[in-house]
């Protein structure tokens, strides 16, 4: 009973704080309203006995919100705080799209004939999760991470307007590199 109430309360918190992202005045508040929403979802997942997934959700989302603070300064031309800003673009189409998505997903959740449970959940859900991911899908998991990192690095290299010729000179021989901010290892 208590768990049911808690679960529903967490759902309400998640939705309301998610909506708050678009209502508050400052980017910092929007960011941390989003973090609160994700934390509520993480705790709800914890209540589904998926310990690892719940804690990892909280971990990753809080870290992402903190990193968003870095992007906030990098990319927001105007003061990212204090003034009532319109956080939304293209309201009508977005509202229509959001309403349609909600209807489709809610219809799916309510109307799809979900299968009945076969057997019992294993004692260690984390282990079961790990085996189902790493067992038959091991190759995909091993390849995905380096590909993602390579994509991020490549994106940054392509976006930066100082090339390696700027850093190392025309013959690529100048060491240490000519950077506006010196690094600690002297690369």
């Amino acid at each position: 009973m208590v768990l049911d109430v808690a679960f529903w309360a967490l759902g309400v918190v998640a939705v309301l704080s998610g909506a708050a992202v678009f209502r508050v005045d400052s980017m910092a508040r929007a960011t941390y309203a989003l973090a609160l929403s994700f934390i509520a979802v993480g705790v709800a997942v914890l209540m589904l006995h998926q310990d690892y997934l719940g804690v990892i959700t909280i971990l990753m989302m809080v870290m992402e919100m903190a990193v968003m603070a870095v992007y906030m300064v990098m990319f927001m031309g105007m003061n990212p705080a204090l003034m009532p800003m319109s956080m939304v673009h293209d309201n009508r189409r977005a509202l229509a799209g959001a309403a349609a998505t909600f209807v489709v997903l809610a219809a799916g959740a309510l109307l799809v004939p979900w299968p009945a449970r076969r057997g019992v959940p294993s004692a260690d859900t984390t282990r079961a999760l790990g085996e189902s991911l790493m067992g038959p899908k091991m190759l995909a998991m091993v390849v995905v991470s380096p590909v993602m990192v390579a994509t991020i690095v490549a994106g940054v290299v392509l976006a930066a307007h100082r090339t390696r010729y700027d850093r190392f000179g025309d013959d690529l021989r100048q060491r240490p590199a000519d950077d506006p901010q010196r690094g600690g290892v002297g690369r």
Partner: protein, 359 residues
């Protein structure tokens, strides 16, 4: 005895003192700091951290107005004291302690202060673009080509480990300085050559150099190093320059020179190139990065100890030229590097004799 009295008695054992130094009153400030630390009190880093505001010397009109603004920023309980002369130091700290314990006085003080922070012209919003009367920052392109806000921040006279009376008005993008203007408050003109005021101070130039070394090491975040430098400074003030204090100075130099982490941290920071130095009339001793200047200060102090002819490049001789060159030196550096650079230049903002006579 009520809880508030007990709390007051314990609280006053560890008061935090914010020191405002008027240019030319270095020895008074050092004497005050020594007394504060020997009581177990601390030196405050910012007005929010402070219980006590002490002004060393007789402030001019601009500095006086600034001191009033800083006084407004101290949360209660707070005590304010002016120390015009070194003789006023006797018993001053005891008076401060008595003032801090007086809770009724602080309650009265608290009642007459405004409850919410507001600008002088009230709490109005000037249109949409100035919440609480502060206009929003404008934008500009920064060194990476991103559009970032430009913030105008004065690095003011009331800062720890900062030359007295110097105001550096910076335009910041992020924490990188993109433009700056340097001035000395109250129209002070720094001496073009090293002043005699330092030699008047007890311990003379060597103690002053150790104080600058202590400032650089504190800004580099090395508490033990700064404490060693402070101890050597105190020894030089008490015992003068001579055989008794030379081993301590040598030990300090070994410690600073030998710390590889410090060298790694300060290498390349605040680099002043050799070319263009002559055209800006900067002394030779300015060339190099913060670590070079730090070691040079210690070498200069050691050379002074040995009373040998000073072969170490002069550092202290042209404070006016250094203040004039500060905006150029500082542009493009981040705030940490700016603080380290300014501390490593060992600026002596003591006013010239004519100013002192008129002021």
């Amino acid at each position: 005895m009520g809880v508030s009295e007990i709390l007051a008695r314990y609280a006053v054992q560890r008061a935090h003192v914010l020191v405002v130094e008027v240019p030319g009153c270095w020895s008074l400030r050092v004497a005050l700091e020594r007394q504060v630390l020997s009581r177990g009190w601390q030196l405050a880093e910012s007005p929010a951290d402070a219980d006590v505001l002490v002004v060393c010397g007789q402030p001019g009109p601009e500095l006086g107005e600034l001191v009033d603004r800083v006084w407004d920023q101290l949360p209660g309980p707070r005590v304010r004291l002016g120390l015009p002369r070194i003789e006023a130091l006797d018993g001053a700290l005891d008076a401060i302690q008595a003032g801090l314990v007086d809770t009724a006085n602080h309650r009265a003080d608290a009642r007459q202060r405004p409850a919410t922070p507001g600008m002088d012209h009230g709490d109005m919003d000037h249109g949409d673009m100035a919440p609480h009367g502060i206009p929003l920052a404008g934008g500009g392109e920064d060194r990476d080509g991103l559009e970032m806000d430009v913030l105008h921040l004065p690095l003011g006279p009331v800062l720890r480990h900062w030359p007295a009376g110097l105001v550096l008005r910076c335009a910041l993008q992020g924490d990188v300085v993109v433009g700056a203007q340097a001035s000395i408050l109250d129209g002070g003109h720094v001496a073009t050559r090293a002043t005699a005021a330092k030699d008047d101070a007890r311990g003379g130039t060597n103690a002053w150099l150790c104080d600058q070394v202590c400032a650089v090491l504190s800004l580099a975040g090395w508490p033990d190093g700064a404490a060693s430098a402070r101890r050597v400074r105190d020894a030089l003030i008490d015992d003068g320059s001579g055989e008794a204090t030379r081993p301590a100075l040598e030990r300090l130099r070994r410690e600073v020179f030998g710390s590889r982490l410090l060298r790694w941290s300060l290498r390349g920071v605040g680099n002043v190139a050799a070319q263009g130095r002559g055209s800006r009339e900067l002394p030779e001793g300015v060339v190099g990065d913060v670590h070079d200047r730090l070691v040079r200060m210690l070498d200069r102090a050691l050379a002074g100890q040995l009373a040998t002819p000073v072969t170490v490049p002069a550092l202290l001789d042209h404070p006016a030229a250094l203040v004039g060159a500060l905006p150029d030196l500082v542009t493009g550096l981040d705030l940490a590097a700016v603080r380290l650079l300014v501390a490593s230049l060992a600026l002596d903002t003591t006013p010239t004799r004519e100013q002192v006579a008129h002021g």
